[in-house]
Symmetry: C2
Subunit: 172 residues, 2 copies
């Protein structure tokens, strides 16, 4: 396999992964491209490589910056902006966890708390069954949320670092 084919194959695979996770394919592809670029790239380079329009490149780059996965870089004496991806995938994963907790888990937790306040006789078996189910859900989602919080805070934490390394004996 040639280098360019290999790059393309990786970009496609990363794009497919993203699209299974509710991330638009192009956004994931731009991310992939930046992940394997040692140097930062300009919007034009990205447009050219991925064959996408300027508007599309701009929007997806902005979204990536929003997620904290990509940074703008200004080269001195140059008007043009360059883009650089965070290369440490754990860092990326943490960033994604932080954002998704904020954007998705928190709202669900709020709704669960909210619907627990349903009106009606607590002795009504229908109400009671619903409240019980919702409480159970709330408790578990909350547990998951706290677990993820810990995972994110574990950066640099010796306990988790050790735990993680247990599963990757061959990391160099």
């Amino acid at each position: 396999m040639q280098l360019d084919d290999a790059k393309d194959k990786f970009i496609q695979a990363w794009g497919a992964l993203g699209s299974n996770w509710g991330i638009n394919r192009t956004m994931a592809q731009v991310h992939a491209l930046l992940l394997i670029s040692p140097e930062s790239l300009s919007a034009d380079e990205i447009m050219g490589t991925l064959k996408i329009s300027r508007g599309n490149a701009n929007m997806n780059l902005r979204a990536l910056i929003d997620w904290g996965l990509v940074q703008k870089e200004h080269k001195s004496g140059e008007r043009r902006e360059y883009f650089l991806a965070e290369k440490d995938i754990w860092q990326v994963a943490q960033q994604v966890i932080v954002e998704r907790r904020k954007r998705e888990l928190k709202p669900v937790l709020r709704v669960l708390e909210d619907v627990k306040q349903v009106e009606g006789d607590t002795n009504d078996p229908h109400v009671e069954a619903f409240v019980t189910a919702v409480e159970e859900l709330h408790s578990t989602v909350n547990q998951a949320d706290r677990f993820l919080e810990l995972l994110v805070k574990a950066k640099g934490n010796a306990f988790f670092d050790t735990l993680f390394k247990l599963f990757a004996p061959k990391v160099k």
Copy 2:
């Protein structure tokens, strides 16, 4: 808030959560409905409540069964099928992890191994940079994969049970 409004609100929220995670909204809504139903429901009941067509209900129920989140139930003396959701959300999460590892992480790992075999002079700085980046990615994704594997196997494992409970002191 009335019971039916509360149910609807929860169903909508769960649907929105799903659609952010690459799961189609209706599938997540069907799942939500079953989660808060103490008894199993027939396809007609689901169609009626969610106002969806028979075909749609059938497809999404099948997908939920595929993911191991819902089971068919046959009531004796009845031709009609009923559907029942797994109520334990940790169980649900584990099931989802198992499936996504299989469907998404594994293929990415395969591609990463594959593109590492790129042809060309290892001394070519372009090739070298690419291979290094891919190796780094592979190692981290692999680490994550093993971590998730452990998480799934931890069911009933005292270590993780304890760990989890640390984050939910108020679980009853």
